[in-house]
Structure formats: C-alpha cells, structure tokens
Amino acid sequence: MSILAKADCAAIESACKTIGELPHVQWLRRPETGLVMVRGRMGGSGAKFNLGEVPVTRCAVRLENGIIGVAWVQGRDARHAELAATLDALLQAPEHDGLISKIHTHIIEPLAAVQTARRDLKARKAAATKVEFYTLAREAAAPPSSA
C-alpha cells in the first residue's frame, strides 16, 4: 500500500499493462478527494498540534469474488486511488494463475526499486554535503635557539 501510494500514477498504469487487463471492479466508495490534517508534535516529541493539510484521494472497490480493496493516496488523482485499491484487492485474493506473484514482480517490486533508488540518490547527495572537520595541529614549538 505504501509503495502504491507513493508511486507516480502513470508509472503504476504502465506497470499494470504488463500483467494484462485488470479485472472489473465494483465501487464500494467512488474516488473522493478530501483533506488530511497533518499533525506534528511540540518539540518533535511532545503534545500533538495541527500543522496543515494535504489533499488525499480515497476509494474502495470489490472484486467479483467479494474481496475488498481500499486505497488512500496523497494527491487529487482518482485514477491513482482506483489502481491502488484494485491492486490492494487483487493482492488479498487467493493466488490464481500466479497473478499475485506477477503483481509483485512486475508492479510492486519495480516501483519499490525506483523509489528506493531515488531516495538513496537524494540521501547520498545530501551525505556529500556533510562537513568533515579537521583540526589544525599546532606546529611543534621551534627548538630553542642554540645561540
């Protein structure tokens, strides 16, 4: 769920093409865009307070076999929520024709790899800006003049 929520909708869409047609789903809750109030903690660890909102789109679908998929994804993209909910339902269904492992290997894992690589590159670029302090050792005192 976390990988699908953080993935780009177009990337999920194109990855889905590799597993063929997605099954027909019935709406339990049509995509709805609303707001989530993001909370922080005072001083990072104290009592909660409201920081500000993020748009989120949620929906719920049901497969023909009755299995339910739910998605809450940041942003305003109804299609993103629909794909995430459909895949969520499919991943909970009993394995059939190797569909679940196909979803893992063709959709989830490649998307996860892209996200990990992107995060890692950003983190390594930040790491390159870490200050390496060095201390100037005081030069050894000059030997007393022999004069």
Binding site: M1, S2, A5, K6, E32, T33, G34, L35, V36, M37, V38, R39, G40, R41, M42, G43, G44, S45, G46, A47, K48, F49, N50, L51, G52, E53, V54, P55, V56, R58, A60, V70, W72, V73, Q74, G75, R76, R119, D120, L121, K122, A123, R124, K125, A126, A127, A128, T129, K130, V131, F133
Partner: protein, 364 residues
C-alpha cells in the same frame, strides 16, 4: 437616505480581461508552465504551501501563476481552494526524528552525532548576481557520496539525558489538539493552537517579530540547537481498515531553538525550547516560528510580558496574511455612505469652529 450602489459590471468584466492579458504578458514569449514553476521556483511553491496550509505543489504552482507571483494572493487562492474539500481524517503525528534528511545542522554542537549536513543552502553563497544564470546554462549533477548517512539522533534526545533541556513528552491522554480551522481562536489559546497559527502565519511577520526578540524586545537568548529539513512519511488510520497506512510523503523544515532559562519556583535552571515546523524547505520560517513560539511562552515560564512578540493575542491575531490582507484591502470597498456622514459632521464642526473663532476675534 438610501443610496443604491450598483453598476460597474462592464468595467469589472473588462478589468478581468485586462488582468488576464497582463498576467500572460508579452504573447510572443512562451507561457510559463506549472511544472516549470514547481521545479524552478520551488521555494516560492513551498512558501505558498506553508502559509496556504495545504501541501500540494501543483496547486501552489497554479496559485503562483494565477497571482502573477503575488505570494499573499497565491496563499489566499490556496486557502480558498481548501475550503471546498471535506476533511477526511487527521494523520498520525509525523515523526521528524525519522526524517529522510536533506539538511541537518546544529549551531550548538560542532560534533553532533550524525554530523553537520549542509544540503542545498544559500548560506555559503556570496550573494553576487550570477550572470551566467541569465542565459541559462547546463548544470552538472551534484556529487553523491558512496553511502547515505545513518539516521541521526535529534539534539533533544542527546541533551535530555542530562536533564539540561526541558523535556517535551506527550500528555498522559495524548488528546486530540484543537483546530483553528474549525473553531475561532479565543484567548488565551493553548500552545497547540499557537503552533498551528504560527505554522501558517506570514513569514515576514514572524521574521520581524523573531528579529525583534533578538534585538531586545522580549529577549530569549536563543541558540539554533538543531535545524532539519527532509521528507517525512504521512500515515493515517482509515476507519474502514483500523490500522495505519502510509498515504504519502511530505517535505518539512524543523527548528529546535534552545533558550537560556534561569529556572523558576517550580522548574530547575535548564534550557527551554521554542519549536518551528513548516511545510517545504522553509528554514527561515521555521527559525522565526521557533523564536516567536518561545517568546510567547513567557507567561507560562514566569517571565515578564513586556514586548509584542510575547503577547499571544497580538501575535496570533495578526500573523495570518489572508486575514490581514483582507482587512487592509477592504478599505477599497465602497464606504460612500460612511464617508458622507463623516463629511456632514466635519462641515458642522468646521462651521461651529469658525463661528466661534469669529466671536472670539470680535471680543479681543
């Protein structure tokens, strides 16, 4: 007397068209795209998200384009948009100690565990105009280290061990915080409302107040204990699931300001804290917010309240640039009747004044 104020419809329609034309600028020049604004004016986008109190880079870019770069107008547009959407949930509190760090510095400990990570900052630039940018030039990718940095313990955890820093821990009930977008502010407001207000407050206003505290108007002896910037995960617990799921990721800036405190009857001498947290890469805002948050705690910490930045009602009532801009700019609305009555009154007063002066003059 009732004066109907009507008319101007055609003038307003034409004004809209003139505005659209001016916004577009010279039609011979390519139109700016939202992607360009989001990618190349990212700090403007972040500021509009922070003060608009809505984390949506695309919409903030649109607001900036629509407002021709007028930031306060763009913030207003984003605030207006947010009122059209239902509130679906509140997130779990974000965990800034687990932030994917893009920047992390401490001005109090040189060898802070995890290190001083500068990230992308203007701090060490020379503030000389770069004329090469005016023509556009390819930019080489920034160097990357072989390995990412390990997670860094926050400064508060390090200092808490000795009890040198006032502890911040959740209250026993960890209650739901009040929300100023739902209920109007009343005073005195608790610190949760104070932080919510400051987080969406105007950066310029908070910067000036924070600066004032440094110059002596409510001095708090601040040190920038830690500044962090990076991505945090946003999690919600949907009622239909009953467990937490990640819905996405946002970038935030955080500032832990630590301040001298001599102690009081109930508290031992220790450093106290001011906290700043804002959407996006908004470091100056987070620092100013932390200064003002600490200043506003004067009453709570038994300090004399003598300066504007220590006065909660003064700060929280005037920090919001949408409200401030609205009230200042409402002066442009027709006040014809008000003004007419003032004119009448003034004419009478003047007539009386001059009549009186005439009499006095005759008497001498």
């Amino acid at each position: 007397m009732y004066v109907a104020v009507k008319g101007g419809e055609q003038a307003i329609l034409n004004s809209w068209r003139l505005l659209a034309e001016q916004r577009r600028g010279d039609a011979g020049i390519p139109e700016i795209t939202l992607t360009q604004i989001r990618e190349q004016l990212g700090l403007a986008v972040d500021r509009v998200m922070a003060e608009g109190s809505l984390y949506d880079p695309e919409l903030a870019a649109l607001a900036i384009k629509q407002a021709q770069g007028d930031m306060v107008e763009a913030v207003f547009l984003l605030r207006a948009y947010r009122t059209t959407l239902p509130r679906l949930a509140a997130s779990l509190p974000i965990d800034t100690s687990a932030m994917s760090l893009q920047r992390r510095i401490s001005a109090t400990f040189k060898d802070v565990p995890g290190g001083q990570v500068l990230g992308a900052t203007y701090d060490y630039t020379q503030r000389l105009l770069d004329f090469e940018l005016s023509n556009g030039a390819p930019v080489a990718p920034a160097p990357a280290a072989a390995n990412a940095l390990p997670a860094a313990a926050d400064i508060a955890t390090l200092m808490n061990a000795e009890g040198l820093l006032a502890e911040e821990s959740p209250p026993a009930d960890d209650a739901e915080p009040p929300d100023l977008t739902r209920d109007p502010l009343t005073y005195p407001a608790g610190r949760a409302l104070q932080l919510q207000n400051l987080a969406r407050g105007d950066e310029g206003f908070l910067l000036a107040l924070g600066y004032a505290t440094q110059r002596g108007y409510g001095h708090t002896h601040p040190f920038a204990g830690e500044i962090r910037q990076g991505a945090v995960i946003v999690e919600v617990v949907p009622e239909e699931l009953g467990f937490a799921i990640e819905i996405g990721e946002i970038t935030v800036s955080e500032c832990q300001m630590i301040n001298q405190f001599a102690g009081s009857a109930t508290e031992p001498p220790q450093f106290t804290r001011g906290y700043g947290l804002a959407f996006g890469a908004s470091e100056r805002k987070a620092m100013a917010m932390a200064l003002v948050d600490r200043s506003l705690r004067a009453g709570e910490l038994g300090e004399a309240v003598t300066s504007p930045s220590q006065m909660q009602e003064f700060v929280l009532s005037h920090s919001d640039n949408v409200e401030a801009s609205g009230f200042v700019q409402h002066l442009k609305l027709p006040h014809y009747v008000d003004f007419q009555s003032e004119l009448e009154l003034l004419r009478k007063l003047r007539a009386r004044h001059f009549a009186g002066a005439g009499t006095d003059g005759a008497a001498t």
